[in-house]
Symmetry: C2
Subunit: 413 residues, 2 copies
Amino acid sequence: MAKIAVLGYGVVGSGTVEVFYKSKENLEKKAGEPLDIKYILDVREFPDSPYADKFVKDFDVILNDPEVSVVSEVIGGIDPAYGFVRSALMAGKSVVTSNKELVAVKGAELLKIAKEKNVNFFFEASVGGGIPIIKPIHACLEANEIDEIAGILNGTTNFILTKMIRDGMGFEEALKIAQELGYAERNPAADVEGTDACRKICILASLAFGKHVYPESVHTEGITKVTLQDVEYIDSCDSKIKLIGCARREDSGEISIGVFPAVIRNESQLAGVNDVFNAILVRGDATGDVVFYGKGAGKLPTASAVVSDIVSAVKHSDTSRSLTWSDSEQSFIRPFEKFTCAHYIRLSSDNIKAAESEVAALFGEVEYLSSKNRPENELAFITKVIPENDAQNACEKLSQSAKIMGRLRVLDY
Amino acid sequence: MAKIAVLGYGVVGSGTVEVFYKSKENLEKKAGEPLDIKYILDVREFPDSPYADKFVKDFDVILNDPEVSVVSEVIGGIDPAYGFVRSALMAGKSVVTSNKELVAVKGAELLKIAKEKNVNFFFEASVGGGIPIIKPIHACLEANEIDEIAGILNGTTNFILTKMIRDGMGFEEALKIAQELGYAERNPAADVEGTDACRKICILASLAFGKHVYPESVHTEGITKVTLQDVEYIDSCDSKIKLIGCARREDSGEISIGVFPAVIRNESQLAGVNDVFNAILVRGDATGDVVFYGKGAGKLPTASAVVSDIVSAVKHSDTSRSLTWSDSEQSFIRPFEKFTCAHYIRLSSDNIKAAESEVAALFGEVEYLSSKNRPENELAFITKVIPENDAQNACEKLSQSAKIMGRLRVLDY
């Protein structure tokens, strides 16, 4: 009999308890032994809950109960989650978590403790909600060298962009609808500024490349500057704007990594990912491109990933698994100014002829885009693949005689 | 040190050896111990191979060598693969295979032997080539009740349909190109008649629903009757024709299952799967729809799945895993005549007015489709969701006064 503690009875926590009891019989078959949730930790009171007798307010009750072998942390954030998780691992309990911030910031340290204590630290739910991605990368694609990983990792921003693309709605209006529908927080910064996607690409890159990538090493841009004008031009070249987190192994062995709104061709599997859905593309040297698609958030999808990890932790309770990466100086992260891709640039100028000449001088041949609402004093074009630095310098020069209205990176997935 | 034997040095076998040695160091880290391929079984001679010293022609050498703990069967077909796999399992060796026919026909029996002998029988490569699907369903989605599973499971037919849809090419011409490119066999029956897709949906359904589904229980149609006229009408209603294998849990607990060319709306994640790519959609009660996409065949993708299973078999060498399903009478398979979906029907008639009245009488309200090349004596329409039986009966009645030119089922994924 394995006894489990659930830390936090918010959306994911209550979902975890719900999914656990709904599928208990099947889970026990998979785990090979009876399972039960012994404690639920929350500071609030839930006197009417059918699980009322399981609630505790003091984490030490859980920590000091040798019967509890698996702790499920679904509180979110660093504090107090980090302290709880660390103590649980130190006490020889396995931990599963949906907490992307915790894994992105403290993953290497927690994995190291788990290894030393011969217990598990699993975090399937931290990326892609209910989409299986952590375990498949770790335990299905290990015969591959992963060259690149890229994803639509945040459902809120994807919902907003979908509204802009499909319905021609402005950013602010689309954000408001996302808030009304409960997809976006009242303070939407973590979503729209790319912070959430950044944490997720950090976790994926750390897993794929074996060294911890910290959020502060990642060039991160959100979608607040994406305009309907850009959406329209991009539509005219059979592409879509998506907030992409991507990480790429360079020939030098360095990792290029970033989060930004990017232009994706319509043929790409990522372009058809709409609304709150997420998708993650993994480019392996043997498999080629593999894509995982599904609901990236939500109570039951996320809970189902947490519960799956609980079963894995019970099944492999006597062995520290090989899911791990090492801590690292961030010197293997390639400076983002060297990131290479094509660029979409939109500018306005009183002298379009002169601007065209300057574009030719700075970028060589470019692909000009049309748009049915193109003002006469506007140009939009896509450059060849160039380093970030070159694109920035060229834009600076251009902005002496023209106004840069928009710039987006063009990715090839 | 775990010693491995590879049975068969064809495309997948040589790929397995190649991928294994390329990623050996990483695989050993994952497995937690040194690994090596000790034998390669093939009736042919490979004197110039760098692995020449590993080749044997007599399976008994492998069977009787207690050092060999994992056997990788990549011969394909039932005979002699079945005998080899059975003997290996009986001798207490784990087996991994890419052989979909073997798993679809003998899976329940082989899983039972594996369980009795406390060894593993893994078959990730048997469905979807390099796409992780077996392990994710088994070990990531276990907190879900799977309601439905559907996929584009055969790359050859998807390539042919893509050519028909994109380039307006006829079936025969597209097949010829597929053969020239090596995507289709000289005898393409197993692909174009749906046999290959049928084996794969059997494996997926057995895994998802826990009882062996045998190929002969599955209503199977290929793509040979799909015409360019149908492609054009379907295009006009923002949909695509795809060869789909699907299995659905009915409220009665029965399983509906079939393989046939189906109409899929363009918004569906399955509609954008082109060329030789495969995709599998899993509809879980907690996760909602999750889709796995990638190359469904090919030397290196398939080999990478085989090698991943080898590592899993080594890692879990001392425990029979919970990946299993039970043998079964096929009485839980719902007769296909009860399969419910909407139907696309195309007919020609000398009296279109009369035909329209009869369609209304038989099907009630239908959605008529246009096509830029529609002959005046032709009608194409989509019915409401009805049982297969009703669709068939109505078509029989219709065919007394009109000619049924095409019928396709319309699926909602």
